[in-house]
């Protein structure tokens, strides 16, 4: 065997996969050829060194990002009509904004009442909330998570001169809870929470009626006194309907969030780098026309 032939079968010789006859010839060659013997030793060393190269560290959130991208992909596959309709909706909203500006110039509001309840004196207003015609409903939810059957004690106060009714539904609970509300006083109720125990947050849909006016809003209430582990599926990764984004913020920062008159088509992206829920939502809601107010009972987002 000469040097050229040995180089052609060097790998097989080193790996021991040469047929016996050729292997003997290759062995004999490296015994008499110093250059090929040196090459063989160096290749063996090189192979060992390659195997010993340190394994690089996987970047943080590597698999989280993959899962988020897959979920975003599934989401967009579900809603192709939304993307197609986006331009039309944007154009319509822009037209409506211009029309409402012209209307407001012609019909200025002299004295806009503060729709946030009186107890919200310590709140920081991000943008001035617009007036509403419906009577305000104050809610206070007290969670009894330690009881054998966790319950919510609910206090509903209808700020109106006439009586009304309210209907509450909680995501995961098939029951709808209906209450009759006396005007101007605190009405107390108890709602069992057994059906949503696997969740770390309760999403409550409230509809209330007083006189001829029906109103509704969504409230997110964390179920644990300690901050739960944030659900990692979409936070900060993609645009979400405001209600879903608020639910994730409520869960991550462990703070109740109430939403009223939120446009269903508007989506926001919340950046998880913010230290507080208020900062995160202030940044995310910019440009949506929604207002964010901090109250003693949590955050309040209004679409009007």
């Amino acid at each position: 065997m000469d040097c050229t032939t040995w180089r052609e079968c060097a790998s097989d010789h080193i790996d021991g996969t040469l047929p016996t006859k050729l292997a003997r010839e290759a062995d004999a060659h490296v015994l008499i050829c110093a250059q090929c013997a040196a090459d063989m030793a160096e290749i063996q060393m090189l192979c060992a060194d390659l195997t010993a190269l340190p394994a690089p560290e996987v970047p943080l959130y590597f698999s989280d990002n993959i899962l988020s991208k897959i979920e975003a992909q599934r989401e967009s596959a579900k809603e192709p009509w939304w993307r197609a309709a986006r331009l039309g909706i944007t154009t319509t909203l822009a037209g409506a904004t211009v029309a409402s500006f012209v209307w407001m110039q012609a019909h200025p509001i002299v004295d806009a009442p503060n729709r946030i309840r009186a107890g919200a004196g310590a709140s920081r207003r991000i943008a001035a909330p617009a007036p509403v015609a419906a009577p305000e409903l104050n809610t206070r939810w007290m969670l009894h998570a330690d009881a054998a059957t966790p319950t919510f004690d609910v206090e509903l106060t209808l700020l109106s001169k006439s009586a009304g009714t309210a209907k509450c539904t909680i995501t995961g609970d098939p029951h709808a809870y209906r209450f009759t509300l006396a005007p101007g006083v605190a009405n107390h109720f108890r709602i069992p929470m057994s059906l949503v125990q696997n969740e770390n947050i309760a999403t409550v849909d409230i509809q209330w009626t007083s006189g001829d006016t029906t109103h509704k809003r969504i409230e997110h209430h964390p179920l644990s006194p300690e901050s739960p582990t944030p659900r990692r599926q979409s936070f900060g990764i993609r645009d979400l309907p405001i209600s879903d984004a608020a639910r994730e913020v409520s869960s991550r920062y462990n703070i109740p969030i109430t939403l009223q008159d939120i446009p269903e088509t508007t989506r926001i992206r919340v950046n998880p780098i913010h230290a507080t829920a208020e900062e995160a939502l202030t940044a995310a809601l910019a440009g949506t026309g929604c207002t964010l107010v901090t109250t003693p009972d949590g955050l309040y987002i209004s679409g009007k």
């Binding site: 180089r7 052609e8 079968c9 060097a10 790998s11 097989d12 080193i14 090459d39 160096e42 290749i43 090189l46 192979c47 060194d49 390659l50 195997t51 190269l53 340190p54 394994a55 690089p56 560290e57 996987v58 970047p59 590597f62 698999s63 990002n65 993959i66 899962l67 991208k69 897959i70 979920e71 992909q73 599934r74």
Partner: protein, 196 residues
């Protein structure tokens, strides 16, 4: 004899085929380290490697129904990572242009142009010794097809049979390319050592 994935993995694959993202998440977490390491050694760059490995896992999810049950999931994923790497290289090669507006003074006797090296330095890969840096550079100097085989065989410790499955090349081609790659690396490292 290979009998496909182990039972728990088979169940995860079945669930993934039915659209269970969380089952696929378990598979991703199981193989993220191996696939990321493969991508790093192919690209020589942690950022590109992360993109390639992520794209490979997403392709895996999109084509999980095409996965043959008798194969190993890890071998299948290796194949996808290699394909994504080669596709990206092809795309990037087509994009590499040098602007004609970059002035080259023809009146000067010697014309030189600095083309920046865009690959991340080996320091970014936490290589510990000078020897490892040289090894890494010699690996990166290899043509992509040879580098792929070297990485799969020596770093990922795949067998010839698995190399055939991953690359889709005949055994003879795999062996001859691997042989050429080893000799080329030995020659490069020998030359550098002689220069030093």
């Amino acid at each position: 004899m290979r009998s496909g994935p182990p039972p728990d993995e088979r169940s995860l694959i079945e669930r993934s085929c039915k659209g269970d993202v969380h089952a696929y998440d378990v598979l991703v977490r199981r193989y993220e380290r191996v696939m990321f390491q493969l991508a790093v050694r192919l690209t020589g760059n942690s950022d590109d490697a992360a993109d390639i490995a992520q794209e490979a896992f997403i392709r895996g999810w999109n084509h999980i129904k095409a996965f043959r049950r008798e194969a190993m999931f890890s071998t299948w994923m290796h194949r996808i990572v290699v394909n994504v790497f080669l596709d990206n290289r092809k795309k990037n090669r087509n994009k590499k242009h040098i602007s004609l507006e970059q002035s080259i003074d023809a009146s000067q006797e010697a014309t030189t142009m600095d083309i920046p090296d865009t690959a991340a330095g080996p320091e970014a890969l936490a290589l510990e010794s000078e020897q490892q840096v040289q090894l890494h550079n010699a690996l990166m100097d290899l043509p992509e097809a040879q580098r792929t085989l070297m990485v799969l065989f020596h770093i990922q410790e795949k067998t010839y049979e698995e190399l055939v499955e991953i690359t889709g090349l005949p055994l003879g081609t795999v062996k001859s390319r691997l042989n050429r790659a080893r000799l080329a690396m030995r020659d490069r490292l020998g030359k550098r050592n002689a220069e030093a």
